[in-house]
């Protein structure tokens, strides 16, 4: 990371939630903020935009101080930001081109130049033939692309996206996501992308910041986070079973609640233990064989995903197994049925807490 | 506003309703014309009817026996003085017990105080009798009667005002009082008005009655006689509204009836108009039906006590 293009600490109170989030990014970087709903993601974005004032902290973008708590504060219109929300929120009375030209016009660009720029931006997101369309004439995906063009038409130093794809249907979402990814590659400023969709985060972000209950719980590149999730929420997002464990003796961990977990490594002290749902094998009868972790469990939930199914199990620990639909049928899996689950010791990865 | 407000909501409701009482054909149309809240000074018993639209209602004390006897005796005597002695029906006035029901009276705004007083006395004398009086400009009242307003009696400011009245509805007509004009000014007299001629001052604010109503016609006649052209800022819809503009201090002078100046009790000062320039109006009281209660009311107005009340409030003899 060269000189930080974004250096911010956002500290404020929203209702009962105390938010305290620090962010840093280099030019051209995309920061993905993930976290459960009501955890402070949107507040962070609104504070960066200047819509919410800071109680503590600061926002410095490209060497310019936008806000220091208790000090001078730039209003939203005095910050070089672009904002894109779940709904496109196009100005319904303006044509696509005038929506996109709104930012440059507001920042003093002459009408002609602003419209030329707007035309270019619309062409960049593949809407060159819809410049004169009214928002009511656009599909949701097209509207989202106009919103993207509008947010970037004034060359903001900071681009804020809050769940930009969440209102779209799955097919449109996939297409808009790749459009967004392409456009973000050309964008030189810092992007902060709030999402709860792991796919958005993993495909669009250079670095992930997890915010839970107002605080940052994990920061890392997508591959780092995938490898070593550090909270149950992060693990759920990346699809892993994660347990806080105590490593007391050779190759045996003790989970919260006292359940032992046999591992193929020899860690020591406080560790995380992660198990991929694919590594969990389900049986009708107690399995014979090499698996060293075997539990008799009860099914609490079955979710179908394409050709596979996620089976949630409970007691003596919470465990998610990912199995094929064929297995579901063969094993007669349904909520409430009792099964045996096994995990090989070598499928359990551990890392320090 | 300085006028006191004594209101009894239940009384007001009763006073405000115009029960058709067996004249259903007339009821609906009457209500549609001019009987709106601004249409007249509708009140049962009003002692402070200075403001337009005001509905002051005085309390009606329980029937006092002494008053009853006194009024009955005097009312009985009054019948001899009346040009229509036969108006006394079935001895009701003498006995005081036989007459019940409601009399609905439409009266010129200038009669507010005197009719309120007469009605109150009459109701004390006849516990079963209710008098409902609605006040307004004579012109409006005549229109209301012609449109079928459910009234028993109409009393107007001037014989001329009665001319458009539908003759088919008139059962009897008697002149019961007279009234002359006077200049009303605020007590401080900010315009230094001393005579009719002063009314032509350009920086003076003069309020008159609208020319369609009797006090406006009378004022126009007087001003013509005096060859004065006053600086008029407003022509009000009836004489009480005209007076109110002066008593509120918004106007410097108005031409109203002498009785209004008396009734205002110091809220305005009166400046007399010489007899040779003045216009005198004779007030007719017109019966619209022959019901006993109606006759009792008309009789009370024409009686010496009625006349005494009118005289004490500034009216002249008929």
């Amino acid at each position: 990371m060269s000189e930080a293009a974004l250096d911010a600490r956002i500290s404020l109170t929203r209702g009962t939630l105390q938010v305290d989030v620090s962010l840093a990014a280099a030019r051209g970087e995309v920061i993905g903020i993930l976290g459960p709903n009501g955890g402070g993601k949107t507040s962070t974005v609104l504070a960066l935009a200047g819509v919410l004032p800071l109680e503590e902290g600061h926002v410095v973008v490209s060497g310019t101080t936008w806000e220091t708590a208790g000090g001078p504060r730039r209003l939203p219109e005095q910050r070089s930001v672009g904002l894109m929300l779940a709904d496109a929120l196009l100005f319904p009375h303006l044509r696509a081109i005038d929506n996109v030209a709104y930012g440059p016009r507001s920042r003093g660009v002459p009408a002609r130049a602003a419209r030329t720029r707007a035309r270019q931006e619309l062409a960049r997101v593949g809407l060159g033939d819809l410049v004169d369309a009214r928002p009511s004439e656009l599909s949701s995906g097209q509207a989202a692309r106009v919103a993207l063009a509008r947010a970037l038409a004034a060359d903001p130093d900071l681009f804020l996206l809050d769940e930009p794809l969440s209102a779209l249907d799955p097919e449109t979402r996939a297409r808009t996501r790749s459009e967004l990814a392409r456009r973000l590659r050309d964008y030189g400023g810092v992007t902060v992308l709030v999402t709860h969709d792991p796919l958005d985060a993993l495909t669009l972000a250079d670095r992930l910041v997890f915010v839970e209950a107002g605080a940052v719980t994990q920061v890392g590149t997508p591959s780092e986070v995938l490898r070593e999730p550090r909270t149950p929420y992060v693990a759920t997002v990346v699809g892993l079973n994660l347990y806080a464990a105590q490593a007391d003796s050779h190759e045996v961990l003790t989970l919260a609640g006292g359940t032992p977990l046999i591992v193929g490594e020899s860690p020591l002290g406080q560790v995380w233990a992660a198990v991929s749902p694919h590594a969990v094998v389900l049986h009708r009868e107690r399995p014979e064989g090499s698996s060293r972790n075997v539990w008799a469990m009860r099914v609490t939930e079955v979710t179908l995903r394409g050709q596979s199914a996620r089976v949630s199990l409970t007691e003596p620990l919470e465990l998610i197994a990912e199995v094929t639909l064929a297995s579901v049928a063969a094993l007669g899996i349904q909520v409430g049925s009792h099964l045996w689950a096994s995990v090989k010791a070598t499928e359990v990865s551990t890392y320090p807490r | 506003m300085s006028a006191d407000r004594r209101e009894d909501p239940t009384e007001r409701q009763r006073g405000g309703s115009h029960a058709p009482r067996g004249r259903p054909a007339a009821a609906g149309r009457g209500a549609a014309v001019g009987m709106s809240r601004r249409g007249g000074h509708r009140a049962r018993v009003t002692r402070d009817g200075l403001q337009p639209g005001r509905r002051g209602v005085g309390g009606r004390p329980a029937a006092a026996l002494t008053a009853l006897v006194a009024v009955l005796l005097l009312a009985g005597c009054g019948a001899t003085g009346s040009p229509r002695a036969d108006a006394s029906p079935r001895g009701g006035i003498e006995s005081g017990s036989g007459v019940t029901g409601t009399v609905t009276v439409l009266a010129a705004a200038s009669l507010t105080e005197s009719f309120d007083a007469i009605a109150a006395k009459l109701e004390r004398a006849h516990p079963g009798l209710t008098v409902e009086v609605s006040y307004g400009s004579s012109a409006t009242l005549v229109q209301q009667v012609n449109q079928g307003a459910p009234a028993d009696v109409v009393a107007l400011a001037g014989e001329a005002a009665a001319k458009p009245l539908d003759p088919a509805r008139v059962r009897s007509s008697d002149t019961f009082a007279s009234n002359s004009l006077e200049i009303a000014v605020p007590p401080s007299n900010p315009g230094h008005v001393t005579s009719l001629t002063d009314l032509s001052g350009l920086d003076l604010k003069v309020v008159l009655c609208e020319v369609t109503v009797p006090c406006g016609k009378a004022a126009a006649a007087t001003l013509a006689k005096a060859t004065v052209e006053p600086h008029v800022v407003s022509r009000e819809i009836d004489v009480k509204a005209t007076l109110a503009k002066v008593s509120l201090g918004e106007a410097d002078a108005a031409i109203v009836y002498h009785s209004d100046v008396v009734a205002a009790k110091g809220a305005v000062s009166g400046i007399p108009i010489p007899a040779e320039l003045n216009t005198t109006l004779d007030y007719p009281i017109i019966r619209l039906d022959d019901e006993a209660a109606t006759r009792v009311f008309v009789h009370a107005v024409l009686s010496p006590q009625g006349r005494a009340t009118l005289t004490s409030l500034g009216f002249g003899p008929p």
Partner: protein
């Protein structure tokens, strides 16, 4: 619907329709059409109609110029004081107009709380055309403010966040986004306020008096005419009715759903 429920609802509904429409029919039926033109062009009718047009238009302009910013500020504030202020502003809506007229006299009259200072300066409002406009604005502006505030509150607040981050100031957002989007609300607010002003009687006659050409608006002329020549009253009423229906029709087609 069964025939029974159709009858049970249809009966009262029909009565309601008759209550509302029969007076209009009666007005048209009883009109002396042969005299309509001479009634309206002669005497006090034409000056009164002209005065009504001038004063109601002025009232509409005042509502637009003063009421729009007020509606804007009300719509954007959630302060407890704002709620009280809004409640206070609706009082003229329910106040009997005559009481409004008295209150205006107490304010602008010679001895009124403002009038006593204006009078020595030679500024006297009562009995002037200005007084008519003041009275009409007093009764009509609440309709406008509430209608426009409602429309402004209906705007998505996120539109403002987006506009602000695009560099638009408060005022630029108001001018380029909020106002264009509440044009329907402004139009219906203006129609309501204008109609209320056109029908204004009580506050006007109490505060501004009744003088042909200066303070005698069309409703006052109707009232006075009724005392002597009901035909003139009917004729003016028909003109008022026609103008109201035309304005309502124009607005309905365009902006009012």
């Amino acid at each position: 619907m069964t025939w029974r429920s159709r009858l049970g609802l249809g009966g009262p509904a029909l009565v309601a329709v008759l209550l509302l429409t029969l007076p209009l029919v009666a007005l048209l039926a009883r009109a002396d059409w042969g005299r309509l033109v001479s009634d309206v062009t002669g005497g006090t009718a034409l000056p009164a109609l002209r005065l009504s047009l001038v004063t109601t238009s002025s009232t509409a302009v005042l509502c637009l110029v003063l009421g729009t910013p007020l509606a804007w500020l009300l719509a954007r504030s959630d302060h407890a004081g704002t709620r009280w202020l809004r409640a206070l502003l609706t009082v003229p809506l329910v106040l009997p107009p005559v009481v409004g007229g008295v209150a205006l006299l107490m304010t602008w009259g010679r001895t009124g709380i403002l009038g006593q200072y204006l009078s020595p300066l030679g500024i006297e409002i009562p009995f002037t055309t200005v007084a008519v406009v003041v009275a009409e604005t007093f009764v009509a502006m609440p309709y406008y403010v509430l209608a426009v505030e409602g429309a402004m509150r209906g705007l998505d607040p996120r539109l403002e966040s987006v506009a602000r981050t695009l560099g638009a100031s408060d005022l630029r957002y108001l001018r380029t986004v909020a106002l264009p989007l509440v044009v329907p609300g402004i139009a219906s607010g203006l129609a309501l306020a204008w109609a209320r002003a056109l029908g204004e009687f009580g506050a006007t006659i109490t505060f501004a008096g009744n003088f042909a050409g200066r303070t005698q608006t069309a409703p006052l002329a109707v009232y006075v005419a009724l005392q002597e020549d009901p035909s003139v009253a009917t004729s003016i009423s028909i003109v008022l009715l026609t103008v109201s229906v035309i304005v309502l029709g124009l607005l309905r087609g365009r902006w009012i759903r």
